[in-house]
Subunit: 332 residues, 2 copies
Amino acid sequence: MRQPTIRDVAERAGVSKSLVSLVLRGSDQVRPEKRDAVLRAAQELGYRPNAAARSLSEQRTRTVGVLLNDLRNPWFVDLLDGLNSLLHANGLHMLLADARLNRRTGQDPADPLLDLRVDGLVVVGTLPDPAALGAVAERIPVVLAGSREPAPPGVDVVAGDDERGARLVTEHLIGLGHRRIAHIAGYGAVGELRRGSFEAAMRRHGLAERAVVEPSDMTEEGGYRTTVRLLSGTERPTAVFAVNDMAAIGVLSAAEELGLRVPRDLSVVGYDNTSIARLRHVWLTTVDNTSHEVGRRAARCLLERFEGPGGAGRTQLATPTLEIRGSTAPAP
Amino acid sequence: MRQPTIRDVAERAGVSKSLVSLVLRGSDQVRPEKRDAVLRAAQELGYRPNAAARSLSEQRTRTVGVLLNDLRNPWFVDLLDGLNSLLHANGLHMLLADARLNRRTGQDPADPLLDLRVDGLVVVGTLPDPAALGAVAERIPVVLAGSREPAPPGVDVVAGDDERGARLVTEHLIGLGHRRIAHIAGYGAVGELRRGSFEAAMRRHGLAERAVVEPSDMTEEGGYRTTVRLLSGTERPTAVFAVNDMAAIGVLSAAEELGLRVPRDLSVVGYDNTSIARLRHVWLTTVDNTSHEVGRRAARCLLERFEGPGGAGRTQLATPTLEIRGSTAPAP
């Protein structure tokens, strides 16, 4: 049996050879239906791109390491899907390591991946010390995906546009008639950008005085504790925008415990559109980071650096969307 | 600076050298407090066991591959914690691959790990075709963790005792006065064992006629659909025991939609004690598989096979416990 060629893929997908090439390079210029058809045809035929394979010297492992921030918060699952689809279509494998576990045992989080000589590294989520990646980036391509921390030289960043996402949330709540709105804030670049954009949107609508911002550690427990405090005060907010879904779940618990019904008495919005937000039992209004797209773009950055190493790091932002579900309603 | 020795670890932990050795070999004969103190001291000192390192020939990568069934169901997080703590104390790294992602792109799920020549493989959760691991097990040690599928020769199995867990649930519900109890069943060995044990316990209490068993695909959506059907019939059950937490979350959603309050009108129990069951907003009674212990035992199986390869595969069962939370109450 002969190996399938790019021509076979084009025929099966019903597209031109040049369109197949565009898709395999991860181009943005292809409509999603066409892209999916090409990737599906490549998989079904077991197509392996010779060019990509050749461009990697025989020293290479053809494996990309993915360092996950913390497996317990499942926001990264769609991102991995997007990353894997494009890497695989280019003959590359993907291996994962859990940065939290490695930190707990005192290891440098990326070590297990680097020891096996991965060809490239994708860091998913916020790392405590992204600067430490500078030395790695001198040897292999490194991409930060889904986080907005300052990157060392030569490292690409692909993330959702947090300012836009937070603005969508704030305007959704204002549009529902909410005036006194609380933001449960987070930390790091992501936390700062979401908080800043919330405050700016409130200001633009003349509501700066009605905005409440409380810090949190971005966990469920943190969201819970902050909300109990918020809702026990006088002049209680009618809506809460939490920095992420986990904290928003904590808001739901606090509301329940205080006898407030969501969304009748209190609107709640999260961020990340995790699988937990999509559970019917939770059904949380939240921001979708288009993580699948973030993952695909991160893969494209790596592929481009495999072909032509070096050059300054670039930052790309994917456009988030608001997922309106059952946890928001007009102000009481 | 000299390398820390086993004597340094013993001193820091305030225990004997032989106890440190026992812990590093993963012995069951050590009390948890002592074990934790030793592992903590080893980490803090950056201790690397020379013996373990020597016993691995220089051909080895000192890396163990972990193949996860599906990253979207977070039940495996504690298992990885347990696995990693013991592997790391023995100078071994851990890398992960997501079997679902690899299957979707038509790869053999373990390939990315095997291509990088991991020294051993831990398969976490149910694989569609565990027999395919037979060929791998002829080359490197393989352990199945957290699943009860029939294993190929020479493969160890470490899992929770599903029959005991399901019996604990059923007797808890009967003890609360429930008589008409439904079981939302799953598939595979785990599904069969949990269902069989539920039925046996109902029989022992003379309730065989009141037991209802409905199949499901073990997802939230499956649990939801099955429950809507169950609760719309005549002679509605007063308690539902779902095969896993994800299906149990679906039960909660169905109950809510049908206007039934949990636990006043309907008691609900899951299985796995996932992070979702622990969310205050969910607070689900469930079975804890002592996954941390399962992970530690899986690591010990691997370590033993590194020292003395070959021999028949063994099955070890960890003893589960019932976590009683807010979703169960006396029968109405």
